[in-house]
Symmetry: C2
Subunit: 486 residues, 2 copies
């Protein structure tokens, strides 16, 4: 009796239905073929499928890497090639580790010192709203903490299935997390025609539908929106909080892109700040988890695996269970925990590293801003595409009209039309982007997902090739006149 | 409707029953009290509860930390204060990262280059037994990969519960992993009187018992034994493999302490090597996962969170699902992945870092060997204790006779007698060790778990205080004559 898929818990198999591996695997295969000298019309694969800034040419932040190098090899504390503030920061971080070594375990929720530093950051960000360091849970990335919260919200065996309201479109990795935990995903549509706004009437429709087929426990929000790039204003956040309070929903707020807000004049206000400002009626009552991550578009430190969540108004026993669940991972990686400190507490104007740090962060932010604008303008001007402005986060999410001929071929092949579009784009032009159907089905309305948290050179190359493919496709399916590169 | 423990899946609550947090939390509290100036009969808490070498005074390996520092901050590639082999190694490792940055994601199973380097190591270790790099899954630690395999082996909702044969005693973190996955733990007793040998008759009894109450799918082995410190010989491993083949059990082999074998004349042979040597009847058939870790007693790199497993004879579809499950963690932390390369491929005799590296590793190994011997001798000579030799791994696991008075107090307090022993030891002498009941109940037969992967100074301090507590306890409960410090 060999272990086979037949024997495996269907919840796990449901994870396996996620489409995100196939296209990436294909991209990897093409890259390997190119390395082996296979001739193609392009010399490299450009990957805008999901965020991985350093891979995509966004430079790492010097101060952060200097501090980590010193923490890893404390002999460097006396190396005067490193600025004083680098060494001071590293010294303090090393002291926060057991046995003064990054090689020691930390408590399951993370280093006590870093929990306090995160709490300090949140209080500063939210203009004084109190934060208890005990409510901070450091994790090896946003995904891991979301998985844990989703499991806590899943229903026991044999009971009616628990459900979660999720935006449509949702982040492309969300479906597998819910499937893995056996939580039913109940979509509420964002209003594309209003810049992907959250719509109260639609929320009310969604909760009614949800109550007919599961036990809705929670509501997931992505702000800034992944993949939509919208940023909610205070009024919209207040509406969501009131709705959650009325419907007794636990709020899971993905705020990992809070460091990547780039729309002109756009200021992000956190859910926690709004909750506080709404007074005790809400502040003492609405249960919330807010997530942040080191892997955002500006720092781009995906490989270090670090993030944290803050729990608000969560039952003490549930908090202890959350800690025990983290305890199963033993602890999250220490270099990433230390990096969170640097991300949330940058050098100050009087520090020797201030200028370089500020310049590097600004460069990354500017690149992201310009990329988002450039991609939106470019795609919006292509025939058969329209693209809402992206004012936060790392994606643009254009709507694409797919020619009838492609729709037919997709139907015949048993794949989504946007997936086929992305496959052919990859094969023909070596550009890897996401099919909108991975972010949830929008009826016959197709979208593409492009990560703009990349170098501007890479983005330009991708847009150019995407344009060539798209126009060729329109040409061949519609016999349209030759179209110009915008 | 606030989320409360009532609503939570009982499988998750079962994890919370793990006792390992209470004592550690108490130890932390005492440490904080000491820091606040509270007067006690000791000035610091000595922690031998579980392995965390750097925290316990075992020094990090210089070469490893130099290489990682350079990888984190590649400007150091041109710093001639670092030896040529440090910089060469770092250069190669940096090249293996996407975008030449440790800040990039890696494939879910780990960096392709590191998978191949791990495969090379295994082939070398096993004298040429072939290893396919595609069978190597890099994880953020042993526990994480074990959780994944245990979940794959769990039963679907509504079907009879799947079971796993586990040694008694078992590693103290194993129970929570099985509980979290809903897999039933079915113990087979190791023979303490024969140096904790695996006993074939006992295995047969265990599988019969298991078949009466669940569907046994797998067998867990710890070799070297955690917490028992035994190392199986080839014959014993052959017996286990034949048993697993006959009973169609998946073998989960915890070999994380393969780098910490210290008994005189003891040579560890891997399960994979024995399986290969047994010929195609077994080699082509027995399903196995073998686990290794960076957090072992000699390197002690717990904070970097890295380990790997090799799957043997596992169904291709299940392998793909395993990869998808890892994909939910996105990827494991890069510094840890790179550190695996250094651990498995140390500097060679012609390399400038060879001498220091070898000397540091040897020092750590010698400390571990001497500690294991010292602890075993010391404890074995205490009245009311006996301790089997520990020839591998990081623990000693003495049997302790608990005075009748303590048994009564424990019963009255509703706690295990060994847990009460450890609590009182902690309070009275500031020594934190593990209660054997966390490693599985052995009837009225009590044990203690002491990690010896610590500096010899720390061990000596712990033994001295443990002795004082133990003799005081015997004195006060038995009115025995004053006993000498051994």
């Amino acid at each position: 009796m060999r272990m086979s898929l037949r024997d495996v818990d269907p919840r796990l198999k449901a994870i396996g239905d996620s489409p995100c591996n196939a296209l990436r695997a294909h991209a990897l295969q093409i890259t390997q073929e190119l390395a082996q000298g296979v001739q193609k019309s392009f010399s490299r694969v450009v990957d805008l499928y999901s965020v991985d800034p350093h891979q995509a040419g966004v430079p790492p932040i010097t101060f952060l890497h200097q501090v980590l190098a010193v923490c890893l090899y404390p002999e460097l504390l006396s190396d005067e090639n490193f600025a004083v503030d680098v060494r001071q920061r590293a010294r303090r971080l090393i002291q926060s580790c057991e046995g003064s070594s990054v090689g020691s375990y930390t408590p399951s929720c993370g280093l006590d010192y870093i929990q306090h530093r995160i709490a300090e950051f949140i209080t500063r960000r939210d203009a004084g709203v109190p934060t208890d360091a005990h409510n901070i849970f450091i994790c090896s990335g946003f995904q891991r903490s979301l998985m844990m919260m989703t499991k806590l919200l899943s229903s026991p065996e044999g009971e009616p299935q628990n459900g979660m309201l999720v935006p449509l479109p949702y982040p492309h990795t969300l479906a597998m997390v819910l499937a893995g935990a056996g939580v039913r995903s109940m979509p509420y549509r964002l209003r594309e025609d209003a810049g992907w706004a959250v719509d109260l009437e639609e929320l009310q429709r969604a909760i009614r539908t949800a109550r007919e087929c599961c036990r809705p426990m929670a509501m997931y929000i992505s702000n800034p929106g992944n993949p939509t790039g919208h940023v909610q204003n205070r009024k919209s956040i207040e509406e969501v909080i009131k709705f959650a309070a009325a419907e007794k929903l636990f709020l899971l707020v993905n705020e990992v892109d809070q460091h990547s807000v780039h729309g002109s004049g756009i200021q992000l206000v956190s859910y926690k700040k709004v909750l506080f400002d709404m007074g005790p009626k809400y502040w003492d009552r609405v249960e919330m988890a807010s997530f942040d991550s080191l892997s955002n578009g500006v720092m781009g430190e995906c490989g270090l695996r670090a993030g944290y969540m803050e729990l608000v108004n969560v039952d003490q026993e549930v908090m202890i269970l959350a800690e025990t669940m983290l305890c199963m991972d033993i602890s999250s990686p220490v270099p990433g925990q230390l990096a969170l400190d640097v991300m949330l507490h940058p050098p100050q104007p009087s520090d020797p590293s201030y200028d370089l740090y500020t310049q590097e962060i600004l460069t990354n932010q500017t690149t992201l801003t310009e990329n988002a604008l450039r991609a939106q303008d470019f795609l919006d001007s292509l025939p058969g595409m329209s693209c809402q402005p992206a004012v936060g986060g790392v994606y643009v999410y254009p709507c694409v009209e797919i020619p009838a001929g492609v729709l037919e071929r997709a139907k015949a092949a048993g794949v989504e039309a946007d997936v086929l579009y992305c496959q052919e784009l990859l094969e023909e032009q070596g550009v890897c982007i996401g099919a909108g159907s991975e972010n949830g089905h929008m009826g016959g309305n197709y979208h593409l997902r492009l990560c703009v948290g990349v170098s501007s050179v890479l983005l330009e190359e991708a847009l150019e090739r995407l344009c060539a493919f798209h126009l060729r496709l329109l040409d061949s399916h519609r016999c349209e006149p030759h179209l110009e590169f915008p």
